[in-house]
């Protein structure tokens, strides 16, 4: 897996708390170049957004998923925008429906707004923001 990099991280970038108990395994996966979401070991169903626990306090397991999906919806953001991401405008914010079912928020790389369409097959890439924070982003599937 080739990582992408953000060479000039803005000092006000809204970085996630990668040590938060709810999402720590997700961010660990990203650092390892692997998209991980929750799954119920009993039913085999994937869960998203993550849950701190389920009924009776049972914990879901974190498993790697395909990293493939399709564009469920998207928005092309313009000014005024967050200073930390302004250099990416026009930014295609995307809602990806994974092959496994859940929908994840992200943004597109390697394509322009004109390339976008509903149902477009996409695959995950990983963009390194800091030594702790790596962000899954999406590009059109080859």
């Amino acid at each position: 897996m080739d990582f992408l990099f953000e060479p000039h991280l803005h000092s006000d970038y809204p970085l996630p708390d990668v040590d938060h108990p709810l999402t720590r395994p997700f961010w660990e996966g990203c650092r390892a170049g692997e998209l991980r979401i929750q799954r119920d070991p009993e039913t085999g169903l994937h869960h998203w957004p993550p849950k701190p626990a389920i009924f009776r306090g049972k914990l879901l397991e974190w498993v790697a998923v395909s990293g493939r999906g399709t564009v469920f919806s998207y928005v092309v953001a313009r000014e005024p925008f967050l200073p930390a991401l302004r250099h990416l405008l026009p930014l295609v914010l995307v809602l990806v429906e994974l092959e496994e079912g859940p929908r994840l928020v992200g943004y597109m790389v390697g394509c322009t707004p004109a390339d976008m369409r509903f149902g477009l097959p996409v695959r995950v890439r990983f963009k390194v923001l800091t030594d702790r924070v790596t962000l899954p982003v999406w590009e059109p599937a080859p």
Partner: protein, 396 residues
């Protein structure tokens, strides 16, 4: 088989339905930067609502407000001269709380926990540091960490995902969103309090609006307004002795929908449905009235597409037909279902939907500046998308 919630207990709910009333409303002038603390504006707005009802602070024993409020209940109670606050409550999820403040008040009155409850929203957004990211913490936690780090932080983009999907699935067009913006603006021209009075908007101007987050433009977005508004809720028995025609709380509901998150609720259904879908089910199940009985609707309008989906969610038309429903002046005064008769969040003021509650009361009283002739029944809704709430108000 999954257990389903018990059906509503009719006997218990009948303690609320038409047994509780909104008896007073009050607001101070809207502005872009009000220049006074929300503790002071809240007390003033609540006082105006009490005066409108013919009551005073000494009559108040309950208080219900948005969780977003930063003023302590006791501070307001002290200012109003409340002798003893016996019940209070703060409701979460931003604009999802607007109708719920009244719902909780009604429940408190119906169960005897309080006798006169004041509900309010006092908002100071001002011009300073108003962008959503200016209020963000350095490190994002919880649900927000699932969308903010990618730059999905402006509410217009969060709602844009729903709007764009709706356009894709049903052929909804920008002109349909424009019909909402134009109707709200038209109604605002009749409202001396509206921020957008004397600034009319036509479809041509709407369509030429600056793109903010494609497919949504400037005129799809609500205003940013400072203001303070309040209402007074009490029993119908007491309401009959007060100044105004009785405005009955007929039905109330709150709903989160399944698998909810704080804001970007994109995993609650096989397709993108807003939380209002579930709220509407509850609201009409508890109501003796149906969508066809509504004489107007104050549908939460932080962004124009929410009115289109709201018309569908609350049963005024079938799924996917919200866009065409707005055609031919149907949602304007004189049409079949006028919406946002004060101008709403789009053109009167954006105060997390509390102005919609007050407009619902005015329509039942017959005192709106865009009065629907013979109006008795009004739907008022809270923010779609977040965990939300709704009300049916009615008159005699």
């Amino acid at each position: 088989m999954a257990l389903r919630p018990s059906p509503i207990d009719e006997d218990l709910f009948s303690r609320i339905r038409d047994r509780v009333a909104i008896v007073g409303i009050g607001q101070i002038g809207f502005s872009k930067d009000i220049g006074r603390p929300i503790s002071a504006t809240a007390i003033e707005a609540i006082s105006l609502a009490l005066e409108d009802a013919g009551l005073s602070g000494r009559d108040v024993d309950g208080m219900s407000m948005f969780e977003m409020e930063r003023t302590h209940e006791v501070t307001i109670a002290r200012g109003l001269g409340v002798e003893n606050l016996r019940w209070w409550d703060k409701v979460s999820y931003g604009g999802g709380a607007s109708c719920a403040t009244v719902m909780h008040a009604a429940a408190a009155i119906a169960t005897g926990l309080a006798s006169v409850v004041v509900c309010h929203r006092a908002r100071n957004r001002g011009a300073k540091d108003a962008r959503p990211w200016a209020q963000e913490k350095d490190v994002v936690t919880d649900d927000k960490a699932l969308h903010t780090p990618w730059g999905l932080i402006r509410p217009v983009d969060v709602i844009g995902m729903w709007a764009h999907r709706h356009m894709h699935l049903y052929g909804t067009r920008r002109e349909h969103f424009g019909n909402v913006a134009v109707a709200a603006r038209k109604h605002a021209q009749r409202n001396p309090q509206a921020m957008m009075r004397d600034r009319p908007l036509d479809m041509e101007t709407y369509l030429a609006g600056r793109v903010i987050g494609e497919p949504l433009t400037l005129y799809d977005c609500c205003l940013e307004t400072d203001g303070a508004l309040a209402c007074v809720v009490t029993s119908v028995e007491r309401a009959r002795d007060l100044r105004h025609q009785v405005v009955y709380v007929h039905s109330v509901a709150q709903a989160s929908g399944p698998n909810p998150v704080h804001l970007a609720n994109y995993n609650n259904a096989p397709d993108l449905l807003t939380t209002s879908t579930w709220c509407a089910d509850q609201l009409w199940e508890r109501s003796e009235l149906a969508p066809k009985d509504m004489h107007c609707a104050q549908i939460y309008d932080a962004f124009t597409p929410l009115v289109i989906t709201g018309l569908e969610d609350y049963g005024f038309c079938a799924r996917g037909e919200g866009g065409p429903f707005t055609e031919g002046g149907r949602i304007e005064l004189g049409g079949e279902l006028p919406v946002l008769t004060s101008g709403g969040g789009l053109s009167e003021a954006y105060v997390h939907g509390f102005n919609l509650v007050l407009e619902g009361v005015r329509q039942v009283r017959g005192t709106s500046t865009a009065q629907v002739e013979g109006c008795r029944n009004v739907l008022v809704t809270g923010a779609s998308g977040v965990a939300t709430s709704a009300l049916v108000l009615r008159g005699d």
